[in-house]
């Protein structure tokens, strides 16, 4: 069977958790300037540019940055946001990213999540915090291809990977 999808674990992804007041234009402005991209204000969306900034809540974002960048992002944000009521935390140790690509990925996600991943319902730039099998995950669609990113708490990563392998085995999903 031709490969219908692939999964790859990114072990060294950087993650920064940011909390701040989205109603505060000054905060939004300063954060956007230092990140060089806006914080998404629309619920369950991702700002995709240099980093991927996931909307987690009305006052919470997760910044997914490249390996080794998290400390720099934390420092830059703390510096730029000094004096505002914010919380910037490096949570790189707490999360594992899993890249998913290919047509079969929607079928794979449907085996564990109750959300609708049909192209009419879930588009590039959409994200959601949901259950995948019995673990909580953050899932975002990055491109039309489709490609998705799954963000999993480190302690659940082993379980989620076992589940992905089990559920993906009948769907032609290759694991890197």
């Amino acid at each position: 069977m031709p490969e219908r999808g692939s999964a790859r674990v990114v072990t060294d992804a950087g993650f920064v958790n940011l909390r701040g007041n989205a109603e505060d234009a000054e905060f939004m402005h300063r954060a956007a300037r230092v990140l060089d991209q806006p914080l998404p204000a629309e619920p369950n969306t991702i700002s995709i540019a240099g980093h991927r900034v996931y909307w987690l809540g009305p006052d919470e974002w997760l910044i997914r940055c490249a390996a080794g960048q998290a400390a720099g992002v934390v420092a830059a944000l703390e510096d730029a946001l000094a004096g505002l009521h914010v919380a910037v935390n490096d949570v790189s140790g707490g999360n594992v990213a899993i890249d998913l690509a290919g047509a079969a990925v929607r079928d794979l996600l449907a085996r564990g999540s109750t959300l609708d991943f049909h192209p009419r319902a879930f588009r590039p730039g959409d994200c959601a915090q949901t259950g995948l099998a019995k673990a909580g995950v953050l899932v975002g669609q990055l491109t039309d291809a489709p490609t998705f990113e799954l963000v999993v708490r480190r302690s659940f990563a082993d379980y989620v990977l076992r589940w992905l392998r089990h559920s993906g085995s009948g769907l032609g999903i290759e694991f890197a």
């Binding site: 072990t11 060294d12 958790n17 909390r19 701040g20 006052d59 009521h85 914010v86 919380a87 935390n89 490096d90 949570v91 790189s92 140790g93 707490g94 999360n95 079928d107 449907a110 085996r111 999540s113 109750t114 959300l115 609708d116 049909h118 009419r120 319902a121 099998a133 019995k134 673990a135 708490r153 480190r154 302690s155 659940f156 082993d158 379980y159 076992r162 589940w163 089990h166 559920s167 009948g170």
Partner: protein, 1001 residues
């Protein structure tokens, strides 16, 4: 091998070029590809397929679908075998093995058949009346009743198959792929809607697969093929054959069980055996069809008495003629088609029509092929035990209260019956919809929908093919429109005539005597419920339909009354002298047909049963051979055995290492929360009981959280890491609950407080280095700060670099020893663990697990939430008054002032020492003051923690004892399971280093 002597020379949707061998009750048979197990057995003339549940009467195949009550088999071999499968829905495959679920030693000869002779004693409620006394004998009775109540055998081994769950969303779900369902799906698909079409058969088409009618002047099956082809071409249409919509739940959520593998020989099976589709549908079209009702006459359960529509199905779809001398007995027009089908298949046929006026159009067609018709007659009784041999026919004037006298007897080997039709209202009812009684058609039809659903076709009381197609089209179009799509262009094809309708009620057929005196007239075949049983139930005062069901077992069993329930309810209505709608139906509950446990479990078995949370250091523990203890979902190392050590030896060694040199533990599972903001002190003052504001930056404190009821909820060390920034820890099991609790107060009660919380549980791993040599281990690694007791005192926190890696260091101790906890980002945790192990090797650093942690903390009298507490324990009970600030308010404080919380005799934390200095008390054991007291012995407390303390050389225990603090040195008794009382002395709860000098070292 038996021949297929009932197979017709041609016709049907079977492939005669593909013979298939199978075994039934040990005998070899042959059928064809396209057969069901039932059609293949009929082709081979197998009449008796099982025994009835109670009376052990021989039973044959009655139906051709989900309604089948008798042909219930165990199918398959070994652990993969399936109990209680309907042969009418089991597709034949090479090598299939089936066994009757009832009948011992065989269905042909069953020793339990003696019950039939005793049947007058075994009326409704027999078990309730007989086995109630003496009460103590029930356990004995139960053993025999269960053994004789033979339904299928569950395989003993674990299920070797895999199953999976899939969530799906659609605009229109169509349940049932007959004429109405196919039309509905077509209309919705052409409108552009996302459609799921599910049908429980191997092919779509429903009754069209056996239909005599034409569509667009061609065989109906051709239209089915073309329609399915078009549907399959729509990208957003999902076709699910072999899929039963078994449950309709709230918010248009439906469950579908898809059988992926059960039609294949074992060697051809791959992937999941079954798939559970969890469907969220905007709109649902219910097109499940209708069930034909049997007629209720004497001995109507004899093998060879079958539903007329089933007979047509076997003749037309499977090329099997189940008899050569047939009597067709009906109260409506549809069975005329069966008579014609049988006649064309070469059987002799007599039509018995209970209606004085008979049929109109259908009668001409039947007469044309030479079928004699007896109008105004009934079959009142049949002869034959293992197979029907004679039908006794009587004239009847239509008065249901009368008895009749049989005047004609016809030799026959098949009695095809039709008592009218009942729409399958199951899913509509499950969805919350009521059913309405249709006075004209004499059946319940779906009433107003309770959810977004539309009933269509014969499931909606439409009998003719033309009406079904029209109804399906309308439903599909409306569903698509309601889901926001413009209706597609679909027209109704031209349908040929259908013989249908004209039903005149005949709920029980009159016999020569009253039901109590004549041979049994069966209403429910699976449970041997007869007309007399229902009448007895009513005489004994069971009037409500639900009571009658439970008293007579009407509608219990794997068929859930699909065949007999409506007849039974009508007979109940007659007894109560009320109209049928006043009696109503019993509740239709999911599942529509039985669903396997496997498909319910899906992939959630074995290692995927529950998530296993692992720390970043987990692999090191596994490599060290540590057995794991499950704590919440975490797997934590329990102890680290060396060679042949058992738990006790390993724990004793680990405890001594911590007390005498140094040990190391993975404490990463602790909940960790970053809390910060201008109002963080105010917030934490309200949450925690101690004076948070008095903590200097860099200080740690032990904090507890109470529920609003004043009971201890969680505990943990907190550290003030900045003026407006705290680092909180929680118990392993309480991490998520505490974060949710804090967020709840912030978001819903105190939104004015400016505080942000961030979970760091997974980000940080925590390595606890404990013991007199712990400082030396850290110094060996190389630390950027002075670790001396004055520079870095007990209960403080520092940022540092340890071996060049940024860490948070805490001088906290859960063992009572000098100890450091290292917080390191999890991606560096494994390396840090290895570094610590290496640096500690010269001190014999000993990794220890949760068991040693428990012993060490118990020696110090430190409580564990959930072990010393159970949601009913206040901090005062635990002797923690020192933690309760008098300077402020905090959650739960008021509750502590309640009279009940201030009782002197509340259970309070104490230590216990076995008087013999040897017995380790069982945790959970009850404590009594006087073991000689009369029963019930008053209990005064219970053991919460108990261990052998290697360091102290004797067992220790913690306990909650009524008024315990005032009972120091009193002797109580700990009750063991065997009734022995172990004398114990009440002691202080701190056994080791009561002054706490060691941790300050």
């Amino acid at each position: 091998m038996a021949d297929q002597r009932f197979r017709l020379p041609e016709g049907g949707r079977i492939d005669r070029s593909k013979p298939i061998r199978f075994r039934f009750n040990g005998r070899a048979f042959e059928g064809y590809a396209g057969d069901t197990l039932a059609s293949a057995l009929l082709a081979n003339g197998v009449g008796v397929v099982g025994r009835s549940f109670k009376l052990r009467r021989p039973r044959g195949i009655v139906g051709a679908g989900a309604e089948e009550p008798n042909a219930i088999f165990d199918i398959g071999r070994g652990s993969a075998a399936r109990p209680n499968q309907r042969a009418t829905q089991a597709e034949l495959y090479e090598g299939l093995v089936a066994r009757s679920t009832k009948g011992w030693p065989s269905p042909g000869f069953d020793v339990g058949a003696i019950n039939d002779r005793l049947s007058r004693l075994l009326g409704a409620g027999f078990y309730y009346k007989t086995f109630m006394r003496p009460k103590s004998f029930w356990r004995l009775y139960e053993r025999f009743i269960r053994a004789s109540a033979g339904f299928g055998r569950v395989p003993a081994g674990p299920d070797p198959d895999r199953y999976e769950h899939v969530n799906a969303h659609c605009d229109v779900l169509v349940a049932g792929g007959g004429p109405a369902g196919l039309m509905a799906a077509l209309a919705a698909a052409r409108a552009g809607a996302r459609v799921v079409l599910a049908d429980d058969q191997s092919e779509f088409g429903g009754r069209l697969l056996a239909a005599a009618e034409t569509i667009d002047h061609r065989p109906a099956a051709d239209w089915v093929t073309a329609t399915v082809e078009e549907l399959a071409g729509h990208a957003d249409v999902r076709l699910l054959p072999r899929s039963t919509v078994f449950g309709y739940f709230d918010h248009n959520f439906l469950g579908i069980a898809e059988r992926c593998n059960d039609h294949l020989p074992a060697s051809a099976r791959s992937g999941p055996r079954e798939r559970l589709w969890r469907i969220r549908a905007r709109e649902v079209v219910l097109a499940q069809g209708a069930f034909e009702r049997p007629l209720v006459f004497c001995n109507n359960d004899r093998p060879g008495v079958m539903l007329a529509s089933a007979v047509s199905t076997y003749v037309r779809r499977y090329g099997v003629c189940p008899g050569s001398r047939a009597v067709v007995f009906t109260n409506n027009d549809s069975a005329y088609q069966t008579a014609i089908d049988l006649r064309k298949a070469g059987a002799t046929v007599v039509l018995v029509d209970s209606r004085a006026g008979g049929a109109r159009l259908a009668a001409d067609a039947a007469s044309e092929v030479g079928i004699p018709i007896l109008q105004g007659h009934v079959v009142s009784d049949v002869d034959g035990t293992d197979h029907v041999t004679v039908a006794h026919i009587a004239q009847w004037d239509g008065d249901p209260g009368k008895t009749v006298t049989s005047t004609i007897s016809i030799d026959c080997d098949l009695v095809a019956v039709s008592g009218g039709w009942s729409p399958a209202v199951h899913l509509h009812s499950q969805s919350g919809g009521r059913n309405a009684w249709d006075e004209r058609e004499h059946c319940f039809v779906p009433g107003e929908p309770a959810q977004a659903s539309i009933a269509a076709g014969s499931g909606n009381g439409k009998w003719s093919l033309a009406e079904c197609l029209e109804d399906g089209l309308t439903a599909g179009r409306e569903a698509a429109q309601r889901a926001g799509f413009d209706a597609g262009h679909v027209t109704v094809p031209a349908a040929g005539d259908t013989f249908c309708g004209g039903t005149e009620p005949l709920w029980r057929v009159p016999a020569a005597q009253e039901p109590e005196r004549c041979p049994k007239q069966f209403v429910d075949f699976q449970n041997d419920t007869s007309v007399a049983d229902i009448r007895l139930a009513v005489r004994e005062g069971y009037l409500n339909v639900e009571h009658v069901k439970r008293y007579t077992a009407l509608g219990f069993g794997t068929d859930q009354g699909k065949l007999g329930n409506i007849n039974g309810m009508a007979i109940l209505a007659e007894c109560r002298d009320e109209p049928i709608p006043a009696v109503g139906t019993t509740t239709f509950r999911p599942a529509y047909t039985p669903v396997s446990f496997g498909v319910g479990a899906g992939a959630n078995v074995g290692e995927l049963f529950d998530p296993v949370r692992k720390t970043a250091i987990h692999e090191a523990h596994e490599a060290a051979g540590a057995p794991m203890e499950v704590v919440g979902q975490w797997h934590r190392p329990w102890y680290f055995p060396r060679s042949a050590e058992d738990l006790h030896a390993a724990v004793a060694r680990e405890c001594r290492a911590v007390r005498n040199s140094v040990g190391v533990m993975d404490a990463s599972t602790l909940g960790k929360i970053d809390a910060r903001g201008p109002d963080v002190v105010e917030f934490l003052e309200r949450i925690y009981t101690h004076d948070v504001g008095k903590m200097a930056v860099g200080r740690c404190a032990y904090g507890i959280l109470l529920g609003e009821d004043g009971m201890l909820m969680d505990d943990g060390v907190m550290a003030r890491v900045g003026e407006q920034r705290f680092y909180l820890t929680t118990t392993t099991g309480g991490a998520a609950a505490v974060l949710a609790w804090l967020e709840k107060w912030l978001q819903t009660e105190w939104p004015g407080l400016e505080v942000y919380l961030t979970s760091l549980t997974d980000h940080y791993s925590t390595i606890a280095v404990a013991g007199p040599d712990s400082r030396k281990v850290l110094e060996n690694i190389g630390c950027s700060i002075d670790l001396g007791r004055d520079a870095f005192p007990f209960m403080t926190v520092r940022e540092a670099e340890l071996g060049g890696v940024a860490v948070q260091l805490f001088r906290v101790s859960f063992s009572g020893e000098l100890a450091f906890e290292i917080n390191v980002a999890s991606q560096h945790a494994r390396a840090m663990w290895d570094t610590v192990m290496k640096a500690g090797s010269e001190f014999g650093i000993t990794p220890y697990g949760t068991e040693t942690m428990h012993v060490l903390r118990a020696e110090k009298g430190f409580v564990i939430v959930g072990q010393e507490t159970d949601g009913s324990v206040t901090p005062v009970d635990l002797g923690m008054n020192w933690l309760l600030s008098k300077n402020k308010d905090f959650l739960g404080k008021r509750s502590l002032a309640r009279a009940d919380c201030r009782r002197e005799d509340r259970k309070q934390l104490v230590g216990l020492l076995s008087v013999d200095g040897q017995t380790v008390l069982p945790e959970g054991a009850q404590l009594v003051s006087d073991p000689g007291a009369g029963i019930p012995v008053p209990m005064c407390g219970h053991v919460t923690s108990s261990y052998m303390s290697a360091c102290l050389g004797h067992p220790i225990a913690l306990a909650l004892v009524e008024g315990g603090r005032g009972r120091r040195d009193e002797t109580l008794h700990c009750m063991l399971r065997d009734g022995t009382a172990v004398p114990v002395r009440v002691a202080a709860p701190v056994f080791y280093d009561p002054k706490g000098e060691r941790q300050n070292a």
